[in-house]
Amino acid sequence: MTNPKNNKVNFLISVIFLSIAACAPMIGPYSPTAYQNATSLKAETLALMDRATLPYPENEQRVQELMVKIDAAYEYVNGIPSNSISAQQWMLLKNPDGNLLGKFFLRWKEKGVLSPEYISEFKSLISKAYDEIICLEANKKNAADCNK
């Protein structure tokens, strides 16, 4: 016959275990695809920004193609459950009405060409924004100090 005390213990253990295990993850899992998208798009974006000393119309197609890829990277990240923090980061980076890529490409379009100084300083900020996205994704896999 089953000991009632054992039943109580089993019940308590089950309740504790299930209450922890049943919760949704606090943050989305590491995604090698999201990581790869961020690192390759960083290189591609910075290379395209370097071309902003050349007339915008010559590069409009490239800008549009890059933004499509960035939109796809955002949609991928946004589709991962519990991944809203990473999705928000991508949104801030890509927002056409925002102050990062949206602003840079808008100025390029408005002015036709941009000064090397402006490009260089803006690139540094965009590079850091990508590094933040990459850092968070890497830390979902293993705790890593992104500054080293």
Partner: protein
């Protein structure tokens, strides 16, 4: 002490070291990151002001860069929040493993 008390104590002891390994450096790291970021902002503002005076940047360029930096700050804050959650998630996974391991150890089949 009952077996269940022994189990709970073992889980609590284990969870302490688990918490220590996951959260010990959190505040320290957050402070360091914030300080490093403020230093960077200060450095950039000094540099851009100089470029503005030298007419290497227009007023609009300067404003664009400051606004872009504000946006970058938001992205950095999100990273910090995300890093804290990754630690919580690791702690939770570790706690579940600990509870299972200790249950098998203390309540052998």
């Amino acid at each position: 002490m009952t077996k269940f008390d022994e189990y709970i104590n073992a889980v609590i002891d284990g969870s302490k070291s688990l918490a220590q390994s996951n959260f010990n450096d959190l505040i320290n790291e957050a402070e360091q990151d914030t300080k490093a970021f403020i230093d960077t902002i200060k450095g950039d503002l000094i540099k851009w002001s100089g470029m503005l005076v030298d007419k290497k940047l227009s007023e609009q360029d300067f404003r664009d860069l400051v606004e872009a930096q504000k946006e970058l700050l938001k992205i950095q804050a999100l990273t910090r929040a995300g890093l804290t959650l990754t630690r919580c998630e690791r702690f939770r996974s570790g706690l579940i493993s600990l509870m299972i391991d200790k249950a098998f150890e203390i309540f052998p089949a």
